[in-house]
């Protein structure tokens, strides 16, 4: 067997960090997706006067490296005296970052629903909102799911960057243990395995849904 001085409590410490990773990912994806749906609808159907400035702001969020966004946001909130915890800053920045990508996914998904199908819905007397909830969202979801799963997994891994604003998530907890027991390869393998164990079910669920929906259509 592999000999290691890593203890069970070290593993628990890492799992604790993994919990943080999951929690940050959850809030970032939940918030980012909600915002992304709203922004995506505006981008797909709203007036150009809102759509173009919004697109510009989201472009900035997508182009500036996430690490810089974390550090800048954390510093500015301190200067502004908001006293937000690093956890809140982390979730907010990552959530906005997620929303920028999600917006484009939603926009693409909504535009992928044929105009003629939406017309048919409206011709039956469905209101704009009923058309969205009963026709556009279910159909767009099918088109969006693969990219959205990809985004979620990406955000989960990107969440490691919050270690720079002082949050001890999975990667940071691994580094702490490496510093102490000096076994980087082993510890990082364990960390990698934990990341994989989190990702795998998500991508399986995605694949399952995709297959199920394809059978319907």
């Amino acid at each position: 067997m592999i000999e290691t001085s890593m203890t069970w409590s070290d593993l628990m410490f890492m799992l604790n960090g993994a919990g943080k990773t999951l929690l940050i990912t959850f809030w970032a994806v939940a918030g980012g997706t909600t915002l992304g749906i709203v922004f995506g609808l505006i981008r797909a159907t709203g007036s150009l006067w809102i759509s173009i400035p919004l697109g510009f702001i989201l472009d900035i969020l997508r182009s500036v490296p996430l690490l810089i966004q974390f550090i800048l946001a954390n510093s500015f909130q301190a200067i502004a005296g908001l006293n937000a915890t690093p956890f809140v800053v982390g979730c907010t920045v990552l959530g906005l970052y997620t929303s920028a990508y999600c917006t484009e996914i939603v926009r693409g998904g909504v535009l992928a629903v044929p105009q003629t199908t939406r017309r048919a819905a409206r011709s039956l007397g469905l209101s704009y909102t009923q058309d969205l909830t009963n026709i556009v969202f279910p159909l767009a979801t099918r088109a969006m799911l693969p990219s959205w799963i990809g985004l979620t997994l990406g955000v989960m891994k990107d969440s490691a960057l919050v270690l720079w604003i002082g949050i001890i998530e999975l990667l940071r907890s691994s580094q702490i243990i490496i510093t102490r027991i000096q076994e980087p390869l082993f510890v990082l393998s364990v960390a990698g395995l934990i990341y994989f164990l989190i990702s795998f079910p998500i991508s399986r669920i995605g694949a399952h849904l995709e297959r199920k929906w394809r059978e319907d259509d």
Partner: protein, 241 residues
């Protein structure tokens, strides 16, 4: 009654309808024939407010379709429309497709909406396909489902927009038979069609559209017979025959 009064419709600079007037009485079947680009389909879209108009007005039961304070969602409950591309909702089964509007728009309880949907699907001969997804249906079956879906709202008027144009030839007759059935039952219908046989046999009146105006309108015997006064009508009919 549907009254179309001097309707003008432009897409940008392109003037598609150049002052169209047409009245359809209750129980009447009016077919609209004419070349592509003559504005036939556009007129149907204007009748149920799916397209705006730039001049004139459309009255359905005396309600101005394009007036600002008209509740279009409510008005459209009286007007069923079936499109060339059948536009099934691919994520819903045949039954769910047909139940959706009665349930959401009319607010019927589930069982009642289901009963209405099943009755209409029986009407068009699809009662054995209730739980099938549209992708598993032929074009003709999908088109009949679209008719049942529109009928499930108990509309007073049915508009048909070239409903057989996208179908394989052997599937055309099953859809036309369904439309004949409706006409026999006294449904008020406006049918944009390229099926001259259908227009001649089923319509009370036939309107020939040419370059955005009603070139000629009258009973089939007039339009298809020797009494047609318009040289354009004669030219068109000579070409499609």
């Amino acid at each position: 009654m549907i009254e179309v009064e001097n309707v003008q419709k432009k897409f940008g600079l392109l003037e598609v309808l150049k002052g169209v007037s047409l009245t359809v009485e209750k129980g009447e079947v009016v077919s609209i024939i004419g070349g592509s680009g003559s504005g036939k389909s556009t007129l149907l879209m204007c009748i149920n407010g799916l397209e705006s108009i730039q001049g004139g007005r459309v009255l359905v039961d005396g309600i101005d379709v394009h007036a600002k304070d008209t509740n279009l969602n409510k008005l459209r409950q009286r007007i069923g429309i079936v499109f060339q591309q059948w536009n099934a909702f691919p994520h819903l089964t045949v039954l769910e497709n047909t139940m959706l509007a009665p349930r959401k728009v009319l607010g019927k309880p589930k069982e009642e909406a289901k009963a209405v949907a099943i009755a209409q699907l029986e009407h068009v001969g699809l009662v054995d396909k209730l739980d099938v997804y549209p992708s598993k249906l032929s074009g003709g079956q999908q088109q009949r489902m679209a008719i049942a879906r529109a009928l499930a709202m108990s509309p007073k008027y049915m508009l048909f927009d070239e409903v057989t144009s996208a179908l394989d030839p052997q599937l055309v007759s099953e859809v036309l038979d369904t439309m004949r059935l409706l006409a026999d039952e006294g449904m008020t219908m406006i049918c944009v069609t390229h099926e001259m046989g259908f227009a001649r046999d089923v319509s009370d009146r036939v309107a020939f559209f040419h370059e955005g105006v009603v070139e000629e309108i009258g009973p089939p015997s007039q339009i298809f017979g020797k009494r047609s006064k318009s040289p354009e009508t004669k030219k068109f009919l000579a070409n499609v025959r």
